[in-house]
């Protein structure tokens, strides 16, 4: 394992333009293994564009991505997954009508030779799924239980466990807690903590400062496509983070110019 002082992924001066719109105007970020890096920002700050660049959905207009010290260029999301960068999207993690085990192995189906043809090894899939779910603290009725019967938090956990099982080195979580209740959020945050302790780098996107403070080791705030710097845990207070996200003085100036009409 690389030492904690070498970042597993480093984004240098990432710019992304969509036509005349500058979505990202030079964002830099270092993510270390075994750490949870929180990416904060209000809606429209460029969080989604940034992680999509990291996960190979978008190609940056300018800037470099270094993964394990080597420059990388992802053509497709599949390249990022193959390199070990997994993304868990908020609503798009699981297919509700399919069983947990079918979901868990979706796109990575285990095969078993049966004569000349290869069949889906359901036995293996079911066993691994139950085992991995138990590790994450979810007890399934059975591996054939439909994902639709799980709560939102449990679905996120299944998606995270899936990414970890298939060798993710960097786990990007896109607002995993924003649609969840208090108890479910706690479950997901606990899962993040477990994953981090396994030496995996976690990039946790959120606009909830409290959720970020609960598990984060580093905090980067994005605002209008720019980063307002990265802070270590203990160097920053929740109030300061909240201020940075809201745009600080900009918001004050805006309030003034609107003359109290809002």
């Amino acid at each position: 394992m690389s030492s904690n002082h070498n970042p597993i992924i480093e984004m240098k001066g990432i710019e992304k333009h969509f036509g005349s719109v500058i979505a990202l105007a030079g964002v830099s970020l270092k993510v270390y293994p075994g750490e949870c890096h929180c990416l904060l920002g209000d809606n429209g700050a460029g969080k989604s564009t940034f992680i999509k660049t990291m996960s190979g959905v978008h190609k940056p207009t300018k800037g470099e991505i270094h993964f394990e010290g080597k420059p990388l260029n992802f053509e497709r999301p599949r390249d990022a997954i193959a390199a070990g960068i997994s993304t868990v999207y908020q609503d798009l993690a699981m297919i509700p009508l399919m069983s947990v085990s079918r979901n868990f192995f979706m796109g990575n189906e285990p095969l078993r030779k049966f004569g000349l043809i290869k069949l889906f090894d359901h036995e293996h899939a079911n066993r691994v799924t139950l085992e991995e779910m138990r590790k994450m603290g979810i007890n399934l009725r059975g591996p054939d239980q439909a994902v639709g019967t799980l709560s939102g938090g449990e679905r996120q956990t299944v998606a995270i466990a899936r990414a970890v099982h298939f060798g993710a080195k960097v786990l990007i979580l896109d607002e995993p807690t924003s649609a969840l209740g208090v108890r479910q959020t706690a479950n997901v945050l606990a899962t993040i903590d477990k994953v981090r302790k396994q030496g995996i780098a976690v990039v946790f996107i959120t606009h909830n400062v409290r959720h970020a403070m609960a598990v984060g080791d580093q905090f980067t705030v994005l605002n209008r496509g720019k980063t307002l710097g990265t802070a270590k845990r203990g160097d920053i207070t929740p109030e300061e983070l909240q201020d940075m996200m809201a745009g600080g003085q900009e918001l004050v100036a805006l309030e003034g110019s609107l003359g109290g009409t809002v």
């Binding site: 997954i81 993304t87 798009l92 297919i95 009508l97 979706m106 796109g107 189906e109 007890n139 019967t149």
Partner: protein, 374 residues
């Protein structure tokens, strides 16, 4: 009641243990199994003396059911992958007409006519799929267009070439062909002769075929139906590709994010429905010895109804090939059974509408149960 859950294993005390009944209820085949049982019970009670269950009767409804099954397998896999194909009926007419034109009008050997027709049908299926995945339009609209395009050509070609809408003479052309018996032949003829000799099944009393059994073998149509059902079932439930079919129909975007080649899956499923329609058409042309421009009319809806009775969701992502096959069986048995029972045949349509409605309502309820929505 079931035993108390052990605290070590039960993380959430609010998860109720489900009864066996509910467990069985969420199997997609359930509706098909119950329906089949009900239909057979009713006809055994009310139509057993009508000849429906002697050798000719059984062969009669088996053949009709097998026809439905062949197209239902394709429609089922495609529906689970999240799409429809409304061009199935037109494809049946088109493929049959192409075989007749190639073999009779152009005088090609029948095996070549069949192979070229299959290639053509698969290409059209792929085109259907390609347009759907590329444009993102509902497959309902794209295949509706092909319903008209293919039907139009099916009437236009024979009209302009032969000045008629039915082309006959395929039987003579197929004489001695090596591929034609695979669709139009019969197997187990020895077994049926033996059963006839042994007095188990009826034989002709007089005439040139005296002593031969009335039902002299199992038509290849039925073999095709059974083979397609078994292959479809294995593909869907036991292979990696089957998992991709469920995923593509369950949520295409989620499936893409995990690396499932959704577009490829969908295009291949459109090709499968085209393949099944062509199997249907080839068997029909070989049996009748002719191709008609009106063949296969409304078959797309009958296929979809069989699939829905079989427990598949119209919205995709859920269903069963076995269920669809049972749906097709119910279909065939009721259609022919009403005839045997002497019931006015137009009532079949009433039955169809009613059972479709019930099936959809039941499926919706089951879906809610699986996904936990209210």
């Amino acid at each position: 009641m079931s035993e108390a859950p052990s605290p070590a294993l039960n993380g959430d005390e609010r998860i109720k243990t489900r009864s066996r009944f509910r467990e069985a209820l969420i199997r997609p085949e359930l509706g098909g199994i119950v329906g089949t049982a009900v239909v057979f019970t009713l006809f055994l009670l009310f139509a057993s003396d009508s000849g429906m269950f002697n050798s000719q009767g059984i062969m009669n409804w088996s053949q009709v059911s097998a026809q439905f099954m062949i197209i239902a397998v394709g429609a089922c896999l495609l529906m689970i992958a999240g799409e429809f194909d409304l061009s199935v009926g037109s494809m049946i007419g088109f493929a049959g007409m192409m075989i007749a034109i190639f073999s009779v009008t152009l005088g090609w050997p029948v095996w070549l006519a069949i192979i070229v027709t299959f290639a053509l049908a698969l290409a059209i299926g792929a085109l259907n799929g390609f347009i759907v995945v590329r444009t993102g339009l509902p497959s309902f609209i794209v295949t509706l267009a092909f319903l008209f395009i293919l039907r139009g050509f099916t009437i236009y070609f024979p009209q302009t070439i032969e000045r008629k809408t039915i082309i006959g003479g395929v039987k003579d052309a197929a004489e001695g062909d090596w591929l034609a018996p695979l669709f139009g032949g019969k197997i187990f003829t020895g077994l049926f002769q033996w059963m006839g000799d042994a007095g188990i099944i009826a034989v002709f009393e007089r005439g040139t075929r005296q002593g031969q059994p009335v039902v002299d073998g199992v038509p290849m149509l039925i073999i095709w139906a059974l083979v397609l059902v078994v292959l479809g079932h294995i593909l869907l439930t036991k292979t990696r590709f089957g998992n991709w079919i469920f995923a593509a129909g369950g949520d295409a975007q989620s499936a893409r994010y995990t690396g499932v080649p959704v577009n490829r899956v969908k295009i291949l499923m459109f090709m499968t429905t085209a393949f099944c329609a062509t199997v249907f058409a080839t068997c029909q042309v070989m049996e009748f010895g002719s191709a008609g421009a009106d063949r296969g009319l409304l078959k797309e809806f009958e296929a979809i109804i069989a699939v829905v009775i079989g427990g598949a969701l119209l919205t995709g992502g859920y269903g069963s090939v076995i269920g669809a096959a049972l749906g097709a069986l119910i279909f065939g048995v009721v259609q022919q059974g009403l005839f045997f029972a002497g019931v006015e045949s137009s009532l079949f349509r009433v039955f169809l509408g009613v059972i479709l409605l019930f099936a959809v309502i039941l499926n919706t309820y089951i879906r809610r149960m699986i996904t936990g929505e209210r």
